[in-house]
C-alpha cells in the first residue's frame, strides 16, 4: 500500500515536473530578446543612431553623469540616442565584448595608463580627425593632459575629469609637537624631521601615531627626479639611481619604526572612506591624497582642518611633482557609427558640461577655463591641485603598452622591500629586467 501511494505521488510529481518545464520554457521564450527601448527612443527610424556607452563610474558619480547624458539625448533628439550603462571598471567585460565583435560605441572604462595598451593593439580608433573637424585644437586643455592622450602621432581619447596628487596634513597635530603648521615641510629633509617629531610609540613599542608613511613608488620615484621609462632609448629605467633612492628612503621609514610594528599599526587603520581614515583618526599626521580628498574632509570630518601641500622633494629632485590619471573616453574599433560616438564625447567635453560633472564628483576638469571657474578656485586646496596639474612636473603614465605589468611588478617590489622581504637595489634591478623583457616581447609583436 505504501508502495502504491508512493508510485501515485511520483507520477503526479513527474507530471508536475513536465508542467513546470512547459511553464519554464514558455517563460524563457517570453524573456525579451531585445529589451524594451528605454526613454521613448524609436529604433525603427533608420536615421537614428543608437549608442551603447559603457562607463566605469557607479553610485552617485553615475547619477551625475546620467544627467549630462540625458542632456545629450535631448540635444540629439532626432539623430542619436546614447544608452549609458556601467561596467564597474571590469576590463573583462569590455575586452570580451570587443573580442566577441560586439564593442560598445563609446567606452570610458579605460584608465589613462591603459590607453596606449589599447591603442597599440588596435583596440581603439584614433579620434584625431574628429577632434580637428570639431575645432578641438588642444589649446583649451592642460598641456600635459592633451599630450597624455596622444600616442604614435594620433589622438586616442579625451578625459572629462582628472586628478592630481598632494600631501594632506593636520595643523593641530603639528602644533601638538611644536611644529609650525604655517611652515609645512618643503624639502625632504624637512619632511623627515617633521615625521620623526610626529612619530609616537608607546611603552610596549607599539606605534601610536606617525608623521607620513610614504607609499607609491610611482610618485616618489618621480619626486626624486627619476623616470621609469626612457622614451629615447626605449628602455625601462626602474633601477636608476633616483628610483633606488626613493625606495630606499621609503624603506627607511619602516626600518626606523620596525617592520612588524608598522604591519601591526597599519592593520589597525579604519576604512579609508570613513571617519576612521587614519588621517582623521589621528594615526597619521600627513597623508598622500588627491584633490578628491577635500570631499572626504567635508563629509567625514567637517570640523577638522586639513591642509594640503605639494610633495616635499630632495635636492636634485622635482618640486611640485604630481601624477595624474583618470578615465579616458574612447571609441573602440569596429563600432557602427563612429561619428555619433564622437558626438557624445564632444558633447561631454564641453566646458560647462565637464565643469558641472567635475564639480559634482570633486575632480579637476581637464579644460583650463573650466578649472579656473570660481566654484573650483574658491577652495585654495583645489587651486593647489590644479596648479600642480598645470605645472612642468605633472606626469601621466608612461606611454608603453605594458603599464599594468609595470604597475603590478612595482607594487610587488615596493611591498616586498617595505616588509623586509627583499633588498631595494636587487629588487628594482629584477623589476627592470622583467618589465624590459615584457616590453620587448610586446614591441616585437607590434612590428
Amino acid at each position: 500500500m505504501h508502495k502504491k501511494r508512493s508510485r501515485g505521488m511520483t507520477r503526479r510529481s513527474f507530471l508536475h515536473a513536465v508542467g513546470l518545464t512547459g511553464v519554464g520554457a514558455a517563460l524563457v521564450a517570453c524573456v525579451p530578446v531585445t529589451p524594451a527601448a528605454p526613454g521613448g527612443e524609436d529604433r525603427s527610424a533608420p536615421e537614428m543612431a543608437f549608442l551603447n556607452y559603457w562607463t566605469g563610474w557607479s553610485g552617485f558619480e553615475y547619477d551625475a553623469l546620467q544627467v549630462q547624458v540625458d542632456k545629450f539625448n535631448a540635444a540629439h533628439e532626432d539623430d542619436v540616442y546614447a544608452n549609458m550603462s556601467t561596467v564597474f571598471g571590469q576590463y573583462d567585460k569590455v575586452l570580451t565584448a570587443i573580442a566577441g565583435g560586439n564593442p560598445p560605441d563609446v567606452v570610458s572604462a579605460v584608465w589613462l595608463h591603459q590607453l596606449v595598451s589599447m591603442a597599440a593593439r588596435d583596440g581603439l580608433q584614433p579620434i584625431t580627425a574628429y577632434a580637428a573637424d570639431s575645432g578641438v585644437t588642444g589649446q583649451e586643455y592642460f598641456p600635459q593632459l592633451w599630450d597624455a592622450w596622444h600616442w604614435n602621432g594620433e589622438l586616442w581619447g579625451a578625459m572629462i575629469t582628472s586628478n592630481s596628487n598632494v600631501v594632506a596634513y593636520r595643523p593641530d597635530l603639528f602644533m601638538e609637537v611644536g611644529l609650525d603648521p604655517d611652515a609645512p615641510p618643503v624639502t625632504l629633509d624637512e619632511l623627515d624631521a617633521a615625521s620623526m617629531a610626529l612619530e609616537m610609540v608607546d611603552d610596549n613599542g607599539a606605534i601610536q601615531q606617525v608623521g607620513l608613511m610614504p607609499s607609491g613608488l610611482s610618485w616618489w620615484g618621480r619626486v626624486f627626479g627619476g623616470q621609469f621609462y626612457d622614451e629615447e632609448s626605449g628602455k625601462i629605467t626602474a633601477d636608476s639611481a633616483p628610483i633606488v633612492d626613493a625606495l630606499s628612503w621609503m624603506a627607511s621609514y619602516s626600518a626606523r619604526l620596525g617592520i612588524d610594528e608598522v604591519a601591526t599599526f597599519q592593520s589597525g587603520f579604519g576604512d579609508y572612506m570613513s571617519t576612521q581614515n587614519p588621517l582623521f583618526a589621528g594615526k597619521e599626521a600627513m597623508k598622500q591624497v588627491g584633490e578628491w580628498f577635500i570631499q572626504f574632509n567635508n563629509r567625514f570630518a567637517p570640523d577638522l582642518e586639513i591642509r594640503m601641500i605639494p610633495a616635499p622633494y630632495p635636492s636634485g629632485g622635482r618640486p611640485n611633482c604630481t601624477n595624474f590619471g583618470g578615465s579616458v573616453f574612447t571609441i573602440p574599433t569596429g563600432v557602427m557609427h563612429p561619428d555619433a560616438s564622437w558626438s557624445l564625447i564632444d558633447f561631454l567635453s564641453q566646458e560647462e558640461v565637464m565643469a558641472d560633472f567635475c564639480f559634482n564628483i570633486f575632480n579637476i576638469p581637464p579644460k583650463v577655463a573650466a578649472a579656473q571657474q570660481a566654484r573650483f578656485m574658491d577652495e585654495p586646496r583645489f587651486a593647489l591641485a590644479v596648479e600642480l596639474l598645470n605645472g612642468a612636473n605633472a606626469f601621466g603614465p608612461d606611454k608603453i603598452p605594458v603599464n599594468d605589468f609595470l604597475n603590478s611588478r612595482l607594487s610587488e617590489a615596493e611591498s616586498s622591500v617595505l616588509t623586509g622581504q627583499a633588498t631595494t637595489e636587487e629588487t628594482l634591478q629584477r623589476v627592470t629586467v622583467e618589465v624590459q623583457e615584457e616590453l620587448d616581447r610586446t614591441m616585437a609583436r607590434m612590428s
Binding site: L95, S117, D122, A206, S267, T333, S411, E434, R445
Partner: protein, 303 residues
Amino acid sequence: MLVRLLTREQRNLLAGLLFISPALVGVLAFALWPILQSLYYSFQDYDILRPPFFVGLRNYEDLMDDRVFGIALRNTLYMVLWGLPIHLAFDFLMALALNMRLRGLTLYRTIFYLPSITPVVAATIVWLWIFNGQYGILRTLLGFFGVPPIGFLTHPDWTKPSMIFMGLWFGGNTILIYLAGLRDVPVSLLESADLDGAGAVRKTWHITLPMVSPVIFYTLIINVIGYFQYFTEAWVLTASRDGTAGGPANSLLFYAMYLYQAAFQQFKMGYASAMAWILFLIVLLATWILFRSSGWVYYRAEN
C-alpha cells in the same frame, strides 16, 4: 523492436547515453569548443584585440621562467595543502555537532548557512573589521590570551593563515552536504553499536565515516578543483583601484588571480591559456589519483 536485437550490454550503453544525453548536448554546445579554443590559444600569441598567431610552446616555456608564476603556484598549493584539509575537517565536525538532536537545531542550521548567502561586498566589510589590528574582534579575543597584536592582512607571514581562518565561515555548502550524508547513516547500525558499548569516537570512525564516505569523497574532489581556482575572497580583499592585487609582497597572489591579470589586464590571453592548461593538468592528475585510490569510499549501490 530494434532494441530487442541488442545485447544486454548494448542496451545498457544506449540507456546510459540516453540518460546523460543532456550533458552530452551541453558539453557539445557550450563547453567543448571554448575548451579546445583555449588549448589552441595556449600555443598562440593572443592579445584579445588582434588575431592570434602561432608561437609553438613559447607560452609554456616563458611560464617556466616566470618568477611570479612560481609565487602564485606556491601560494595556491599552500591553500590546497593547508586550507582544504582544515576546512573539510572543520566542516565535518560542525556537521556532526549539527546532526545531534539539539534544541534549536533549525535555527543553528540556518545560522551556519548565513555567511554563504551574505553578499560578497557586505562580507568583505565585515571581515576587514574582524581583522582590524586595533579594534577588530579577533584582536580583542586574542588579547584576552595575551597574544600581541598581529598584522593579519598587512604582514606577509600572516595573510594566508588569515585567509584560511576566514574560509571557515564559508563552509555552508560542505556542511549541508555532510549533514545530508549523515542523515543517511542507518540508525539501526548506530544503535547496535551502542549495545556493544562503542564510544562516540569509535562509532564515528567505524560506522559514520564509511557510511558518509561517498559525500566526503565528493567534497574532497570538488574542493581540490575549487581551491586550485581560489580567487574571489583574495581578489576582493586585495584588489586596489589601479588594478594591482595580491596583498603584501604578493603573499595573497593565487594562481587564478595571476591568470586573470595576465588575460584581462596585461592582454596575454595565450599566456593565460597556457597557465590554465597547466592548472587543468595538475587538477586532472590530482583528481585521477583520488579516484584511483578511492577504495575507502563505500558505495552501497556497488555491493
